[in-house]
Symmetry: C3
């Protein structure tokens, strides 16, 4: 039950991020709704296909569709209100990441997967929607460059896996995992924490890998 | 039987659209054949994976492959003849959309899916091939911006679902659905009907969302 | 056993190609590791999903993950050493292609698929990883334009299928298939062999389809 609520909440906030990106790229109403659904559900659908849980929950349960369309319509008709929030895509994205990382891990653990694999599938659930959103917009997925994005998801998933191994109460562990993931992601954005970029010969030492031009797909 | 013929005809016309787009982007012969196969079969393969019908018909039945390759070879060697038709990608695309929307819906209904889900899977069958074609060409999928594209597919699928609920003759319902979808799509192109684009603060009121530059991925 | 070793070796070299492309596009450490895993495993995962072998080996067997991460980390920290090899992406790519084409075909034959379908699935195993790598980097997949890329995979797969039909020793057939594929690919790069590009009306006859600008996604 908690799992379903988390999953639907994650779907909603990710769908908001997809719809916001779609409106910014001037897609029409249908395009915005497709991006809402894709951003909200592609991670979970991929996870379900990989573990053989077909048809995926996002297809067989109408609530995922309803929640995604709701987020898309709200964003489409009240875009200026949603846009007034500071860098809304990043914030919704971070919340969706946290919710999906813990719910995806819980689902994989419930199906009896090994801990490491469960954590990775949780991470995939978290990053799959955003990657699909960016691929559909013909951009290099944010997750491949952004500051501690997937690492945050993995940290949240690890909290859930370790908590489950220690037999701590499931609700507390879930909340702790989500808080760790969102907090880490939020701090990374605020403070500009990021993973290293490989040194390439011939580059000047002062060449900043994160110039504004490079970051255009971060939707900051 | 009717289902198979529709499906193969849809595969053929979609494969023509994929091959035409591939030739325009100067892909080599193999690239053109891959785009033919992807545009013709990705929608059906995705539908089959989602409903657990593996291996998908496009993989296990050689006729889908044969029809796709035929369309690709015809387009490759007689491109100037095919290009002389006015905006051929859009026309083939519209015909494929109509055929797949009704055949996909029929297949989903035959497998006992609920009406709303069957209509959505029909729509997905219709738009999946074109989306895959555009993603492979590193473009934002036409369907996310084009005039009443997916809405036309959904309308055709809805005709099939409603007709099935009223127990009308299957052949008549199928033809009606395809005609509704293609007609709606064709009128939308001719008359420039399109879905609304969200208002973004700071844009001038005269800013036309469909400037030629914006439309380059419509392959008009 | 031979199959597993080939598969892991193919995963390793493809993962090197993915990681090299990721470093060149200035992805961070995680992005480079994702590209390693995607380039190394997307072909096999797609094949396994299509033939209904879930969960795919790349998900259930930790060695695929370990080998991919190893390749990514080596490339990330010793990039200048790897880059000193001439056009390393193309070379690793060719080796991965050869190994995957034969191992994918062997696996499909072992599951009892028909020869033609087994050869095509072998080819898909070979080209799927590179296509996913390029789509994630928002580029048109190299395979759709490059010189005899997929044709080489298909030739290697055909050697395996024909050898199996003639009941020749499996190890010899596998090695012969890999050598044919890699050799053909290597010669195509060296000598500039390529498949024809369709003639489009209005193009000047001297218009070279393979200008350097066109080839930027070949990572030469």
């Amino acid at each position: 039950m908690l799992l379903l609520v988390l999953d639907l909440a994650g779907t909603f906030v990710f769908a908001l991020s997809g719809a916001t990106a779609g409106v910014k790229r001037r897609l029409d109403l249908f395009g915005v709704l497709v991006l809402s659904f894709a951003a909200g559900n592609a991670g979970g659908i991929t996870r379900d296909l990989l573990i053989g849980a077909v048809p995926p929950a996002a297809i067989s349960d109408w609530r995922y569709l309803a929640v995604s369309l709701l987020a898309g319509i709200i964003t489409f008709y009240w875009f200026s209100a949603i846009d007034r929030l500071r860098s809304p895509v990043l914030v919704f994205d971070g919340a969706g990441l946290a919710l999906f990382a813990v719910s995806g891990t819980q689902k994989a653990l419930a199906l009896g997967l090994a801990p490491v694999m469960a954590a990775l599938l949780g991470m995939l659930t978290g990053i799959g929607g955003g990657m699909t959103r960016d691929v559909l917009l013909s951009e290099i997925p944010t997750v491949l460059r952004a500051d501690l994005y997937a690492v945050a998801a993995l940290a949240g998933a690890a909290v859930v896996v370790i908590g489950a191994a220690l037999r701590l109460p499931s609700t507390a562990v879930t909340i702790a995992g989500a808080v760790v993931c969102f907090g880490l992601r939020f701090l990374a954005i605020r403070r500009g924490w990021h993973l290293p970029v490989a040194h390439q010969p011939g580059q000047s030492a002062t060449d900043d890998p994160h110039t504004p031009g490079d970051r255009k797909d971060d939707h900051v």
